[in-house]
Amino acid sequence: MNLTVNGRVYELESASLTSLLDVLREELGITSPKAGCEQGGCGACTVLVDGAARRSCLLPVGVLNGAEVTTVEGLGSPDNLAPIQQAFTHHYAAQCGFCTSGMMLAAHAYVESGGTDDQQAITEALGGHVCRCTGYVKIIEAVAAAARGDSFDLATTAASPGMTNIGGVK
C-alpha cells in the first residue's frame, strides 16, 4: 500500500494492523511522533491525517491507503519555521519536548480550522494532550498567538531566553 508522508510517497511493507505510529517510527524512521502511552491517552503520537489531528498509535495503517500524513518534519524547516513553530519558539512553549510534536500538530490543525485565541477553545482542542513538565500556560499562550497571527522576531527571542512574554513580567 501507499502512504504519503510529508509530501513523499512511500510503498509500505508493514502489515495492515500495524499502528501508523510504528510504521512512521520503525519502518520510515520518522521519530517526531512519540510512543508515549500507546493507548490514546497522552497525545504524544498525534500526527495530521488528511489535515485532521489523529492519534497515530490508534490507527491501523491498513485503513490509510492513499492518505496524506504530516508530522512535525513536514510543517516547516529549521530555516523556515511554520507559524505554529515560531509561536512555540517565541513563547518558550517546549520544555523537555516529548509532548511538543503532538501539541504543535493539534495546535496547527486548530489554527488551520479557524480556531481563535479563546483560551477555553484552545484548552478543548488540546484536551487530549498531556505535558508532564506542566507547561500548559505557555503552550496555550503560543497557540493563542498563532491563532491571532502574531509575528515574531525570533532573533530577539533567542537573545533573551524565556523573558519575552511571561504574563507581563520583564
Partner: protein, 262 residues
C-alpha cells in the same frame, strides 16, 4: 511467531456482512481506538480482522421522526445532536479520539478493566433505540437492550431511534489523561410521554433504571429508587460506594433537567 492475521477491507455493507459471516474468529476494527492498544500490547492476536473504514457503514440519516446512525459513524459527527446522545458523545474522551472512535465500537465495547466503556449505551437505551445487526442467522433488528446481551457474536450495522420530545444527560467525570466517564445518566421523554432513564458505569454495560422510571415525576424519589436497579462495582475511576452515593444525585439532576426541557 503467530501467523499474520487475514485482514479484510470490505467496500460495502453487503461485503462487510459476508466477510463477517457468523463472526467466528473475527476481530472487527472500526475506529481502532479500543482494538489497537490490545494489538500493540499483544493482548489480542486475531486470526481474521475486518476493517470497517471503507464499508459504507458511516453516516446519519433522518427520516421524519426517525434518526438512523451507521455503526462506523465517528462520534465527532454526533456531538451536535439533541440530548441525551449529543452531549453524551461530546463528553467522550477528546476531540481527536471522537474524530476516530465510532458509535458501533462504543456500543459494542466490552467492559474495560480500569474504567467503564460504552458511554453511548446509556444514551441510546434512554432513547429506546433499536439495533440492526448481522451474524449467525442473518440480519436482525431488535431493541438495543437485547442486542447488548449477545453483541459479541454480531456485527452492528446501524442504530435507530425516534427523536424524543426532551432529553437530558449528566455525568460524573474524573480528571484523567482522557476523561473516562465513571458514571453517567441519560433520560429522555418520548413523544408519547414515556420516560426512559438509563445509566452507564453502574454495571458491566449500560442499563435501564426501571425503578427510577416509575417515579420519573419525582426526581429525588427516582434517584433513591434507582439504587434498586444496579450493582455498582469498584474500578480505577470510582468505588462501588462512591457510585452508589452518586447515582441518586445524577438521576435526580437528569430528571430535573428533563422537566425543564419539557
Amino acid at each position: 511467531m503467530a501467523p499474520a492475521p487475514e485482514v479484510l477491507s470490505p467496500t460495502s455493507p453487503a461485503e462487510a456482512a459476508q466477510a463477517f459471516g457468523d463472526g467466528t474468529g473475527v476481530t472487527v476494527v472500526a475506529g481502532g481506538t479500543i482494538v489497537l492498544p490490545e494489538l500493540t500490547y499483544g493482548r489480542l492476536r486475531p486470526e481474521k480482522a475486518l476493517l470497517l473504514s471503507r464499508a459504507g457503514l458511516s453516516g446519519v440519516s433522518v427520516d421524519g421522526p426517525t434518526t438512523t446512525i451507521g455503526a462506523a459513524t465517528p462520534l465527532a459527527d454526533l456531538t451536535g445532536l439533541p440530548a441525551p446522545l449529543g452531549p453524551c458523545t461530546a463528553n467522550v474522551a477528546d476531540l481527536e479520539i471522537r474524530g476516530q472512535a465510532t458509535l458501533g465500537g462504543n456500543v459494542c465495547a466490552g467492559g474495560g478493566a480500569d474504567a467503564p466503556r460504552g458511554d453511548v449505551q446509556g444514551a441510546l437505551l434512554a432513547l429506546g433505540a433499536t439495533a440492526r445487526s448481522t451474524g449467525a442467522g442473518g440480519e436482525k433488528t431488535e431493541p438495543l437492550e437485547a442486542f447488548l446481551d449477545h453483541r459479541d457474536g454480531r456485527l452492528l450495522l446501524d442504530v435507530s431511534f425516534e427523536q424524543p420530545a426532551a432529553g437530558a444527560f449528566v455525568a460524573l467525570d474524573r480528571p484523567h489523561t482522557h476523561d473516562y466517564t465513571a458514571l453517567a445518566v441519560s433520560a429522555a421523554r418520548a413523544t408519547d410521554g414515556t420516560v426512559r432513564v438509563a445509566a452507564t458505569g453502574a454495571g458491566s454495560h449500560g442499563q435501564r433504571l426501571p425503578s427510577a422510571e416509575a417515579k420519573a415525576n419525582d426526581p429525588a424519589a427516582a434517584g433513591e429508587a434507582a439504587l434498586a436497579d444496579v450493582s455498582p462495582h469498584d474500578d480505577a475511576l470510582a468505588s462501588a460506594w462512591y457510585r452508589s452515593k452518586t447515582l441518586p444525585v445524577l438521576v435526580r439532576r437528569a430528571l430535573a433537567e428533563l422537566k425543564e426541557a419539557s
